[in-house]
Symmetry: C2
Subunit: 168 residues, 2 copies
Protein backbone atom coordinates (compact mmCIF):
# COMPACT_ATOMS: atom_id res chain seq x y z
CA UNK A 1 0.00 0.00 0.00
CA UNK A 2 1.48 3.41 -0.88
CA UNK A 3 2.08 5.92 1.91
CA UNK A 4 -0.90 8.09 2.79
CA UNK A 5 -0.95 11.13 0.54
CA UNK A 6 -3.58 13.80 0.94
CA UNK A 7 -3.83 17.33 2.23
CA UNK A 8 -5.34 17.96 5.64
CA UNK A 9 -7.61 20.47 3.90
CA UNK A 10 -9.03 17.57 1.84
CA UNK A 11 -9.88 15.73 5.06
CA UNK A 12 -11.57 18.79 6.49
CA UNK A 13 -13.56 19.26 3.28
CA UNK A 14 -14.56 15.58 3.33
CA UNK A 15 -15.75 15.89 6.93
CA UNK A 16 -17.66 19.08 6.08
CA UNK A 17 -19.47 17.11 3.38
CA UNK A 18 -20.45 14.37 5.86
CA UNK A 19 -23.60 15.84 7.39
CA UNK A 20 -24.20 15.38 11.09
CA UNK A 21 -26.92 16.05 13.61
CA UNK A 22 -26.26 19.04 15.84
CA UNK A 23 -26.31 18.32 19.56
CA UNK A 24 -25.64 20.22 22.75
CA UNK A 25 -23.78 18.04 25.23
CA UNK A 26 -23.97 19.03 28.87
CA UNK A 27 -22.58 18.03 32.22
CA UNK A 28 -22.71 19.13 35.84
CA UNK A 29 -19.47 19.54 37.72
CA UNK A 30 -18.25 21.14 40.93
CA UNK A 31 -18.28 24.55 39.21
CA UNK A 32 -21.80 24.20 37.88
CA UNK A 33 -23.33 23.39 34.53
CA UNK A 34 -21.27 23.13 31.34
CA UNK A 35 -22.44 22.72 27.77
CA UNK A 36 -21.02 22.72 24.27
CA UNK A 37 -22.28 22.13 20.76
CA UNK A 38 -21.08 18.85 19.28
CA UNK A 39 -21.67 17.08 16.00
CA UNK A 40 -19.20 14.20 16.48
CA UNK A 41 -21.84 12.08 18.19
CA UNK A 42 -22.92 8.65 17.08
CA UNK A 43 -25.20 5.78 18.07
CA UNK A 44 -23.19 2.69 19.09
CA UNK A 45 -25.46 -0.09 20.36
CA UNK A 46 -28.89 -0.51 21.92
CA UNK A 47 -27.70 -3.27 24.29
CA UNK A 48 -26.67 -1.67 26.55
CA UNK A 49 -28.02 1.59 25.10
CA UNK A 50 -24.86 3.56 24.30
CA UNK A 51 -23.84 6.59 22.27
CA UNK A 52 -20.40 8.04 21.72
CA UNK A 53 -19.13 11.61 21.77
CA UNK A 54 -15.72 12.81 20.48
CA UNK A 55 -14.18 15.83 22.24
CA UNK A 56 -10.89 17.53 21.40
CA UNK A 57 -8.48 17.27 24.32
CA UNK A 58 -7.33 20.82 23.51
CA UNK A 59 -10.78 22.13 24.46
CA UNK A 60 -10.86 23.71 27.90
CA UNK A 61 -14.16 21.88 28.47
CA UNK A 62 -12.63 18.43 27.85
CA UNK A 63 -11.40 18.05 31.43
CA UNK A 64 -14.77 19.07 32.84
CA UNK A 65 -16.57 16.33 30.89
CA UNK A 66 -13.82 13.83 31.68
CA UNK A 67 -13.85 14.52 35.40
CA UNK A 68 -17.62 14.57 35.82
CA UNK A 69 -18.23 11.18 34.18
CA UNK A 70 -21.75 12.24 33.22
CA UNK A 71 -22.98 13.61 29.93
CA UNK A 72 -26.38 14.50 28.47
CA UNK A 73 -26.68 14.48 24.67
CA UNK A 74 -29.44 16.85 23.55
CA UNK A 75 -30.40 16.32 19.89
CA UNK A 76 -31.43 19.68 18.46
CA UNK A 77 -34.43 20.41 16.25
CA UNK A 78 -34.87 23.05 13.57
CA UNK A 79 -36.04 25.54 16.21
CA UNK A 80 -32.58 25.53 17.86
CA UNK A 81 -30.57 27.07 15.02
CA UNK A 82 -29.88 30.14 17.19
CA UNK A 83 -29.12 28.13 20.33
CA UNK A 84 -26.44 26.03 18.65
CA UNK A 85 -23.92 28.86 18.03
CA UNK A 86 -24.32 30.11 21.60
CA UNK A 87 -23.07 26.76 22.90
CA UNK A 88 -20.45 26.64 20.13
CA UNK A 89 -18.87 29.72 21.74
CA UNK A 90 -20.40 32.59 19.74
CA UNK A 91 -19.97 35.75 21.80
CA UNK A 92 -17.87 33.76 24.28
CA UNK A 93 -20.66 33.91 26.85
CA UNK A 94 -20.09 32.57 30.37
CA UNK A 95 -21.85 29.26 30.98
CA UNK A 96 -24.58 30.76 33.14
CA UNK A 97 -25.52 33.12 30.31
CA UNK A 98 -25.52 30.30 27.78
CA UNK A 99 -27.95 28.33 29.95
CA UNK A 100 -30.20 31.41 30.26
CA UNK A 101 -31.13 30.46 26.68
CA UNK A 102 -33.16 27.27 26.27
CA UNK A 103 -35.55 25.34 28.50
CA UNK A 104 -33.55 23.15 30.87
CA UNK A 105 -34.72 20.39 33.20
CA UNK A 106 -32.94 17.49 35.00
CA UNK A 107 -33.36 13.74 34.75
CA UNK A 108 -31.20 10.96 36.25
CA UNK A 109 -27.63 12.29 36.35
CA UNK A 110 -28.27 15.95 37.15
CA UNK A 111 -26.80 17.17 33.85
CA UNK A 112 -28.93 19.81 32.10
CA UNK A 113 -31.60 18.37 29.78
CA UNK A 114 -33.04 20.56 27.00
CA UNK A 115 -36.76 19.92 27.28
CA UNK A 116 -37.50 21.06 23.72
CA UNK A 117 -34.77 18.87 22.17
CA UNK A 118 -35.93 16.17 19.75
CA UNK A 119 -34.37 13.72 22.19
CA UNK A 120 -32.13 13.89 25.25
CA UNK A 121 -29.94 11.00 26.35
CA UNK A 122 -28.84 11.38 29.94
CA UNK A 123 -25.72 9.23 30.34
CA UNK A 124 -22.92 7.96 32.51
CA UNK A 125 -19.56 7.63 30.75
CA UNK A 126 -18.80 3.90 30.65
CA UNK A 127 -15.36 4.02 28.98
CA UNK A 128 -13.18 6.35 26.95
CA UNK A 129 -10.52 5.91 24.29
CA UNK A 130 -7.94 8.49 23.23
CA UNK A 131 -7.46 8.65 19.45
CA UNK A 132 -5.08 11.28 18.08
CA UNK A 133 -6.10 14.71 19.36
CA UNK A 134 -9.51 13.57 20.66
CA UNK A 135 -11.09 11.46 23.38
CA UNK A 136 -13.99 9.22 22.39
CA UNK A 137 -16.41 8.97 25.33
CA UNK A 138 -18.75 5.97 25.36
CA UNK A 139 -21.90 7.03 27.18
CA UNK A 140 -24.31 4.53 28.75
CA UNK A 141 -27.85 5.88 28.70
CA UNK A 142 -29.51 6.27 32.13
CA UNK A 143 -32.67 8.16 31.13
CA UNK A 144 -34.29 9.43 27.94
CA UNK A 145 -36.53 12.40 27.27
CA UNK A 146 -38.33 12.60 23.92
CA UNK A 147 -39.37 16.13 23.01
CA UNK A 148 -42.58 17.17 21.35
CA UNK A 149 -40.89 17.78 18.00
CA UNK A 150 -39.15 15.00 16.13
CA UNK A 151 -37.67 17.35 13.54
CA UNK A 152 -33.93 17.75 13.22
CA UNK A 153 -31.04 20.12 12.65
CA UNK A 154 -28.12 19.01 10.49
CA UNK A 155 -24.78 20.72 9.86
CA UNK A 156 -23.43 19.98 6.39
CA UNK A 157 -21.30 22.00 3.99
CA UNK A 158 -20.51 24.42 6.82
CA UNK A 159 -24.19 25.43 7.03
CA UNK A 160 -27.24 24.51 9.10
CA UNK A 161 -30.05 22.60 7.42
CA UNK A 162 -33.41 22.18 9.16
CA UNK A 163 -34.88 18.71 8.71
CA UNK A 164 -38.64 18.84 8.85
CA UNK A 165 -40.45 15.58 9.24
CA UNK A 166 -42.19 14.69 6.00
CA UNK A 167 -45.44 14.11 7.91
CA UNK A 168 -45.23 17.18 10.17
CA UNK B 1 -28.28 8.06 40.78
CA UNK B 2 -31.46 6.01 40.20
CA UNK B 3 -31.27 2.84 38.11
CA UNK B 4 -31.63 3.35 34.38
CA UNK B 5 -35.30 3.29 33.47
CA UNK B 6 -36.41 3.64 29.87
CA UNK B 7 -37.84 1.46 27.16
CA UNK B 8 -35.58 0.22 24.41
CA UNK B 9 -38.19 1.63 21.99
CA UNK B 10 -37.47 5.09 23.44
CA UNK B 11 -33.78 4.64 22.65
CA UNK B 12 -34.57 3.58 19.10
CA UNK B 13 -36.86 6.57 18.66
CA UNK B 14 -34.18 8.90 20.05
CA UNK B 15 -31.61 7.47 17.61
CA UNK B 16 -34.09 7.82 14.74
CA UNK B 17 -34.41 11.49 15.62
CA UNK B 18 -30.63 11.96 15.55
CA UNK B 19 -30.04 12.55 11.83
CA UNK B 20 -26.96 11.03 10.23
CA UNK B 21 -25.18 11.12 6.91
CA UNK B 22 -25.72 8.03 4.78
CA UNK B 23 -22.54 6.23 3.72
CA UNK B 24 -21.65 3.08 1.86
CA UNK B 25 -18.68 1.38 3.50
CA UNK B 26 -16.70 -1.05 1.38
CA UNK B 27 -13.85 -3.48 1.65
CA UNK B 28 -11.98 -5.96 -0.50
CA UNK B 29 -11.39 -9.44 0.86
CA UNK B 30 -10.38 -12.85 -0.44
CA UNK B 31 -13.90 -13.40 -1.77
CA UNK B 32 -14.06 -10.07 -3.57
CA UNK B 33 -15.70 -6.72 -2.90
CA UNK B 34 -18.13 -6.18 -0.03
CA UNK B 35 -20.22 -3.13 0.76
CA UNK B 36 -22.96 -2.08 3.13
CA UNK B 37 -24.90 1.07 3.95
CA UNK B 38 -23.92 2.60 7.28
CA UNK B 39 -24.99 5.69 9.15
CA UNK B 40 -23.08 5.05 12.41
CA UNK B 41 -20.01 6.82 11.05
CA UNK B 42 -18.30 9.77 12.71
CA UNK B 43 -15.30 12.04 12.35
CA UNK B 44 -12.78 11.50 15.17
CA UNK B 45 -9.62 13.55 14.64
CA UNK B 46 -7.69 15.17 11.83
CA UNK B 47 -4.29 14.25 13.35
CA UNK B 48 -3.92 11.53 12.28
CA UNK B 49 -6.96 11.79 9.99
CA UNK B 50 -9.36 9.23 11.45
CA UNK B 51 -13.04 8.33 11.21
CA UNK B 52 -14.95 5.65 13.07
CA UNK B 53 -17.53 3.13 11.89
CA UNK B 54 -19.80 1.02 14.14
CA UNK B 55 -20.83 -2.42 12.82
CA UNK B 56 -23.12 -4.94 14.54
CA UNK B 57 -21.22 -8.14 15.27
CA UNK B 58 -24.38 -10.07 14.35
CA UNK B 59 -24.04 -8.85 10.75
CA UNK B 60 -22.62 -11.50 8.44
CA UNK B 61 -20.45 -8.76 6.93
CA UNK B 62 -18.81 -7.88 10.25
CA UNK B 63 -16.18 -10.62 9.96
CA UNK B 64 -15.32 -9.60 6.40
CA UNK B 65 -14.57 -6.01 7.45
CA UNK B 66 -12.76 -7.20 10.57
CA UNK B 67 -10.55 -9.64 8.70
CA UNK B 68 -9.67 -7.34 5.81
CA UNK B 69 -8.47 -4.45 7.97
CA UNK B 70 -9.33 -1.98 5.20
CA UNK B 71 -12.43 0.15 4.81
CA UNK B 72 -13.54 2.88 2.41
CA UNK B 73 -16.22 5.29 3.70
CA UNK B 74 -18.18 6.73 0.78
CA UNK B 75 -20.31 9.74 1.81
CA UNK B 76 -23.46 9.73 -0.31
CA UNK B 77 -25.06 12.72 -2.03
CA UNK B 78 -28.72 13.37 -2.83
CA UNK B 79 -28.32 11.50 -6.13
CA UNK B 80 -27.67 8.21 -4.29
CA UNK B 81 -31.05 7.79 -2.62
CA UNK B 82 -31.70 4.67 -4.75
CA UNK B 83 -28.19 3.25 -4.26
CA UNK B 84 -28.41 3.35 -0.46
CA UNK B 85 -31.16 0.71 -0.06
CA UNK B 86 -29.37 -1.64 -2.46
CA UNK B 87 -26.39 -1.72 -0.12
CA UNK B 88 -28.70 -1.86 2.90
CA UNK B 89 -29.86 -5.25 1.61
CA UNK B 90 -33.01 -4.37 -0.36
CA UNK B 91 -33.74 -7.28 -2.69
CA UNK B 92 -30.95 -9.24 -0.99
CA UNK B 93 -28.75 -8.88 -4.08
CA UNK B 94 -25.41 -10.70 -4.27
CA UNK B 95 -22.44 -8.36 -3.84
CA UNK B 96 -21.48 -8.42 -7.52
CA UNK B 97 -24.97 -7.22 -8.47
CA UNK B 98 -24.88 -4.48 -5.84
CA UNK B 99 -21.61 -3.19 -7.28
CA UNK B 100 -23.12 -3.23 -10.79
CA UNK B 101 -24.89 -0.10 -9.53
CA UNK B 102 -22.71 2.95 -8.98
CA UNK B 103 -19.42 4.17 -10.45
CA UNK B 104 -16.57 2.43 -8.66
CA UNK B 105 -12.83 3.13 -8.81
CA UNK B 106 -9.86 2.20 -6.56
CA UNK B 107 -7.42 4.33 -4.60
CA UNK B 108 -4.80 3.26 -2.02
CA UNK B 109 -6.19 0.18 -0.25
CA UNK B 110 -7.99 -1.51 -3.15
CA UNK B 111 -11.42 -1.16 -1.51
CA UNK B 112 -14.12 0.10 -3.90
CA UNK B 113 -14.41 3.91 -4.08
CA UNK B 114 -17.66 5.50 -5.30
CA UNK B 115 -16.44 8.15 -7.71
CA UNK B 116 -19.66 10.19 -7.50
CA UNK B 117 -19.71 10.23 -3.69
CA UNK B 118 -19.44 13.64 -2.02
CA UNK B 119 -16.26 12.29 -0.43
CA UNK B 120 -14.55 8.93 -0.11
CA UNK B 121 -12.13 8.12 2.71
CA UNK B 122 -9.98 5.11 1.87
CA UNK B 123 -8.72 3.75 5.20
CA UNK B 124 -6.75 1.16 7.11
CA UNK B 125 -8.33 0.05 10.40
CA UNK B 126 -5.99 1.29 13.13
CA UNK B 127 -7.81 -0.14 16.17
CA UNK B 128 -11.19 -1.50 17.18
CA UNK B 129 -13.21 -1.58 20.39
CA UNK B 130 -16.13 -3.89 21.16
CA UNK B 131 -19.01 -2.10 22.88
CA UNK B 132 -22.16 -4.12 23.60
CA UNK B 133 -23.41 -5.72 20.39
CA UNK B 134 -21.17 -3.65 18.09
CA UNK B 135 -17.55 -3.17 17.11
CA UNK B 136 -16.27 0.38 16.71
CA UNK B 137 -13.62 0.44 13.98
CA UNK B 138 -11.20 3.38 14.02
CA UNK B 139 -10.11 3.98 10.45
CA UNK B 140 -6.90 5.84 9.55
CA UNK B 141 -7.30 7.65 6.24
CA UNK B 142 -4.85 6.64 3.50
CA UNK B 143 -6.35 8.50 0.53
CA UNK B 144 -9.24 10.86 -0.14
CA UNK B 145 -11.40 11.42 -3.20
CA UNK B 146 -13.64 14.48 -3.30
CA UNK B 147 -16.52 14.10 -5.75
CA UNK B 148 -17.93 16.79 -7.99
CA UNK B 149 -21.01 17.27 -5.81
CA UNK B 150 -20.75 18.44 -2.24
CA UNK B 151 -24.43 17.86 -1.54
CA UNK B 152 -25.51 15.32 1.05
CA UNK B 153 -28.00 12.62 1.99
CA UNK B 154 -29.24 12.39 5.56
CA UNK B 155 -31.37 9.71 7.20
CA UNK B 156 -33.59 11.13 9.95
CA UNK B 157 -37.00 10.16 11.26
CA UNK B 158 -36.74 6.88 9.31
CA UNK B 159 -36.71 8.80 6.01
CA UNK B 160 -34.13 10.10 3.54
CA UNK B 161 -33.58 13.84 3.30
CA UNK B 162 -31.52 15.29 0.44
CA UNK B 163 -29.26 18.13 1.56
CA UNK B 164 -28.66 20.55 -1.28
CA UNK B 165 -25.88 23.02 -0.87
CA UNK B 166 -27.29 26.47 -0.39
CA UNK B 167 -25.03 27.81 -3.14
CA UNK B 168 -25.51 24.91 -5.61
Amino acid sequence: MPAATFDRSDFREAMARMGAAVNIITTKGPDGDTGMTASAVCSVTDDPATVLVCINRASRLHEIFKNSGIMCVNVLTHVHEELSPIFAGKGNLPMAERFAHGDWIRLATGAPVLESAAASLDCKVSQSVDVGTHTVFFCAVQAIHLGQSSSGLVYQGRAYHPIQRKLD
